[in-house]
């Protein structure tokens, strides 16, 4: 292979596919090299990694399957408790090593996936708001079960004691898991299965008529998303010396949903960015605003959220949006492209054209088909430039 061949091959690689991996790897390496991170910074990094896993997996349900799930923290809770229990049991015999961590992550993930299967079953019958209520209730049930569990088994209201992994390397492991998660979801989404799942979201009736096994795919989506939420839970249990179930209340589910909505439903990279941003904001506000100012924390946080949503979605801000657009910046370094165009040739999956709106998500469309105009002109994304 000559040098020319190599450069040719490098040029043919769609770098935008791998941007999430590259950014995370570079970021992690920088953190590793910088050395002597403060404990708060390490904690922040760990939280960011966990948020990324959660947001990406929730986006699979919300953005790609098009169902609203408010019980993601519940799956995480199951993972955290069962994985944490397994790890604390294994620590005695196997030591607090990477093997223990991997086993407990898998066990926690599997239990969460089982819960996802159970919650997926009603998902086949319910849609929109109704499913959201069921998942919300599920999250609360999971929390209450662990809260009232035996002190010996799960610690009950005192919380479960879990082994804390080595401070200096846990965040690296978490980021590795984040990359695995992103890869798993990205690979599934960019395959025939992902296509079928987005087809269900776009038009379930048509998907059924086209022979898509809607039931199986819906269950699969819930199971897979729950598995990775469980993984995030186990990793969370490793960042804590005590797992408190109050951490997994519905506020946390909503917070994950906010990440998904802010990042753009149906955009994995968006979820990653939003997860990092929101977690960072949350943590930094908590450290900056202390004492009397702590009251301002939530106000400030909510204010930022409102501003971001207004900026990114309000029609009145269209001009400003177009003036200071990320896409504009992107077009400086990348090939310009017709906004309605999705490159899809020869295996390239450049962009998943899947920005959907909350009202679309919540609308229960069984037989009426009057939304043709409304959904088509808007849903191509906020990037249309007429």
């Amino acid at each position: 292979m000559t040098f020319g061949d190599i450069t040719k091959k490098l040029k043919s690689v769609k770098w935008s596919h791998y941007i999430a991996y590259i950014v995370i790897i570079v970021f992690t390496v920088i953190c590793m090299l910088s050395g002597n991170l403060k404990r708060t910074d390490i904690y922040l990094l760990e939280k960011i990694g966990i948020s990324i896993i959660l947001a990406v997996s929730l986006n699979f349900i919300v953005g790609f399957l098009g169902e609203l799930s408010l019980g993601h923290a519940g799956f995480m809770c199951i993972g955290a408790y069962l994985g944490g229990k397994v790890s604390s049991m294994l620590v005695g015999s196997m030591g607090n090593g990477i093997l223990t961590l991997i086993i407990s992550v898998i066990v926690g993930g599997i239990f969460a996936a089982l819960a996802g299967f159970v919650i997926g079953l009603p998902a086949l019958r319910l849609k929109g708001d109704y499913l959201a209520i069921v998942t919300l209730a599920f999250g609360q049930i999971a929390l209450i079960i662990f809260q009232n569990s035996n002190y010996e088994t799960f610690g009950g209201a005192f919380g479960l004691d879990t082994p804390r992994y080595d401070y200096n390397s846990l965040y690296i492991i978490i980021f590795v898991f984040a990359i695995i998660t992103i890869a798993a979801f990205q690979n599934v989404i960019r395959s025939k299965h992902g296509r079928a799942i987005t087809a269900i979201r776009d038009n379930e009736i048509a998907a059924k008529a086209t022979g898509v096994p809607v039931t199986q795919y819906k269950l699969f989506t819930f199971v897979m998303a729950a598995f990775f939420a469980g993984v995030a839970g186990v990793l969370y249990s490793y960042t804590q010396s005590k797992v408190q179930c109050t951490h997994f209340d519905y506020n946390y589910s909503i917070e994950i949903l906010v990440m998904v909505v802010l990042g753009g439903m149906g955009s994995l990279n968006g979820s990653i960015a939003a997860a990092a941003l929101i977690t960072f904001l949350n943590e930094k506000l908590a450290t900056v605003l202390t004492g009397n100012l702590a009251v301002l924390q939530n106000i400030f946080y909510s204010l930022v959220l409102i501003l971001i949503v207004i900026y990114s979605n309000a029609p009145a801000f269209k001009n400003i949006r177009e003036k200071y657009n990320f896409k504009k910046f992107k077009s400086l370094i990348m090939r310009k492209r017709d906004p309605g165009y999705i490159s899809d040739d020869e295996g390239s999956w450049d962009r998943i054209p899947t920005k959907i709106k909350m009202d679309e998500l919540l609308s229960v469309d069984i037989s009426v088909q009057s939304d043709k105009d409304g959904s088509t002109s808007d849903s191509t994304g906020g990037d249309e430039n007429e």
Binding site: A184, N187, V188, S191, K192, H193, G194, R195, A196, T198, A199, R201, D202, N203, I205, A206, A207, K208, A209, T210, G211, V212, P213, V214, F220, G266, G340, Y341, I342, S343, D344, D345, E346, G347, P353, T354, K355, I356, Q369, K372, S375, T376, S379, T380
Partner: protein, 256 residues
């Protein structure tokens, strides 16, 4: 003519007390283009919905090539070889044209690929993806949609959206294609073109077509035989000419 593809016997459905369709008997022969017409509310689309498993018939049965499909799931029926289009276009709006067709190929027995081979990017994944894309392109080429394959399907003009829906239905490799008002909202040129396309795909894929249409020019131009429905029952049937000149049919349409 040759063997019967679809045999509908005494098909009927009640919604509560309303008998939407009753005592419908239709036999569609191989490679025929069969029309199902009737005034609004006659139960044409309801019959389509029963044939594709959306509704379960309350009486009677229907069979495709002798296999009884009454009450089977939509997916099973689709796999057995009945594909349909919708009266109001139902495309996957947020997906590109080619991906719409590829969803139709999802259940193709030759393009099997488990979730795990996709997740871990095993060779099967790449093989099926490539084969799928090629097959989708072949189908799109028939409908002159190859140029637009990378556009969002909702950005296509109306006539092309109709075509894409037929292309997607064809991707499931059906033996019987149900078209629900394929010419609705089309101008005369597009309608003529559509007639050509339907004949072409019938010969090319060796399929049988059952269609609902209100455009009489279209119906008389393309259908070999017709069944006319009114108030859920069969009003007349026979060759296109016979059925359209039946005094009962004229009365139902024009009144009097």
């Amino acid at each position: 003519m040759s063997e019967a593809v679809l045999e509908i016997r005494n098909l009927g459905i009640n919604f509560g007390g309303l008998k939407a369709v009753q005592h419908v008997d239709i036999t569609v022969n191989k490679n025929e283009i069969y029309g199902l017409i009737g005034p609004n509310g006659a139960g044409k689309t309801t019959i389509f919905n029963m044939l594709t498993g959306v509704y379960k018939p309350t009486e009677g049965n229907f069979a495709l090539f002798g296999e009884d499909l009454t009450g089977k799931s939509q997916r099973y029926i689709c796999r057995s070889g009945i594909a349909r289009t919708f009266q109001n276009i139902r495309l996957f709006n947020n997906m590109s044209v080619i991906r719409n067709v590829m969803v139709g190929l999802n259940d193709d027995p030759q393009l099997k690929c488990s979730v795990f081979s996709s997740m871990f990017r095993l060779p099967t994944h790449f093989k099926t993806e490539k084969a799928m894309r090629q097959k989708a392109k072949d189908i799109l080429a028939i409908f002159d949609l190859l140029e637009e394959r990378n556009n969002l399907s909702c950005n296509l003009p109306y006539g092309k959206q109709r075509k894409l829906e037929i292309a997607r239905a064809l991707a499931t490799s059906p033996k019987l294609l149900l078209l629900d008002e394929p010419a609705a909202g089309m101008n005369p040129n597009e309608t003529a073109e559509l007639m050509e396309t339907i004949r072409k795909i019938r010969d090319m894929f060796d399929i049988t077509v059952l269609l609902i249409e209100h455009d009489m020019k279209f119906v008389s131009g393309i259908c070999d035989r017709l069944t006319v429905l009114n108030f859920g029952t069969v009003l007349a049937e026979g060759t296109t000419e016979e059925a359209l000149n039946d005094p009962e049919v004229i009365r139902a349409y024009i009144g009097g």
